[in-house]
């Protein structure tokens, strides 16, 4: 089970989500992707994305304007 990360700070919706999508071919079942972004709609977008892609959103942490999410594949 591997852990990978994406820094999507400074990107506006839907770019952080597209970055996650582009990472999908590298991810295996059980792998965890950590994404940090500061787009205001990021959390809402990630929740919608996880629901549609049937992935588990493990955690959402807020630090200032930025949010870090953990997605399990």
């Amino acid at each position: 089970m591997a852990e990978k990360s994406i820094d999507a700070k400074g990107l506006r919706c839907p770019q952080p989500v597209l970055k996650i999508a582009a990472k999908m071919p590298e991810m295996k079942a059980g792998d965890i992707l950590i994404v940090e972004a500061d787009c205001p709609t990021f959390e809402e977008d990630v929740r919608k994305w996880c629901e549609r892609m049937k992935k588990t959103l493990l955690a959402v942490n807020t630090k200032g304007h930025a949010k870090t999410v953990q997605i399990q594949f």
Binding site: P14, V17, R52, M53
Partner: protein, 235 residues
């Protein structure tokens, strides 16, 4: 102090301008929301295409992009979805073809031939690894049982390299056939193979080895002749 009347906007104008600004702001918010929603829809469709690609890369061909993608209002995305589905379909067909060919090759690579009454021949060609040895064993033993053969000639003329493992596979095959009451004769050992077997110390003294298939068949016929002359042994 004089006042410039034209610079003083009246209250009604101010109110109207305020209302117009509010409406413009609300419209801008709606537009932003609509843009966010549609861009997220596109991102989700793209994500689904990536997910399908990821699954194909991991060897899962039982995958298909959803109807949402194929019905996408954006022609490019809909075409992308269709292309992806067609590619998966082609891959699935190619995989089926490869599987069928592999099966055909496997059957052709281990033919069990009825050479004479009670004599089967198994010409082995190529490399014999553990998997192939298991296949040969399974096939040969099944044929021995079905045809009630008394002799099997294992011809290894087509085997260029024999190491300890390959020799071990052959010995196991011969022992398994012996348990079914069948005598196995090994033929067609190439000079280079014989040299290797001696060098690596493989002991084949417990089994009958002959030069070629012809000599093997002659041996079988002689043994059959002997047993006929002796007649059935009373127990």
């Amino acid at each position: 102090m004089s006042t410039d009347a034209h610079l003083k906007p009246d209250i009604a104008t101010l109110k109207r301008e305020l209302e117009e600004s509010r409406a413009a702001l609300a419209e801008a918010r709606d537009l932003e929301e609509a843009f966010h929603k549609s861009s997220m829809d596109v991102a989700l469709v793209v994500s689904e295409c990536f997910q399908a690609l990821a699954q194909v890369r991991q060897g899962n061909l039982d995958v298909q992009v959803s109807q949402d993608v194929l019905n996408s209002p954006d022609e490019l995305l809909a075409n992308l979805g269709k292309l992806l589905n067609d590619t998966i379909k082609d891959l699935r067909m190619q995989m089926d073809l490869v599987k069928r060919q592999a099966l055909a090759i496997q059957e052709l690579s281990t033919p069990v031939l009825q050479l004479w009454n009670d004599v089967l021949a198994l010409p082995v060609i190529g490399t014999v690894d553990t998997r192939r040895a298991a296949e040969i064993m399974e096939r040969l033993l099944a044929e021995v049982v079905v045809r009630k053969s008394k002799f099997v000639i294992l011809d290894i003329t087509g085997v260029e390299v024999v190491d300890t493992k390959t020799a071990d596979h052959f010995l196991k095959l011969i022992r398994a056939a012996a348990l079914l009451g069948t005598k196995c004769i090994l033929t067609g050992i190439r000079p280079a193979v014989a040299q290797t077997l001696v060098e690596i110390g493989v002991d084949l003294s417990s089994i009958t080895t002959l030069r070629d298939l012809q000599a093997g068949l002659r041996e079988c016929l002689q043994e059959m002749q002997k047993s006929r002359t002796k007649g059935p042994v009373e127990g």
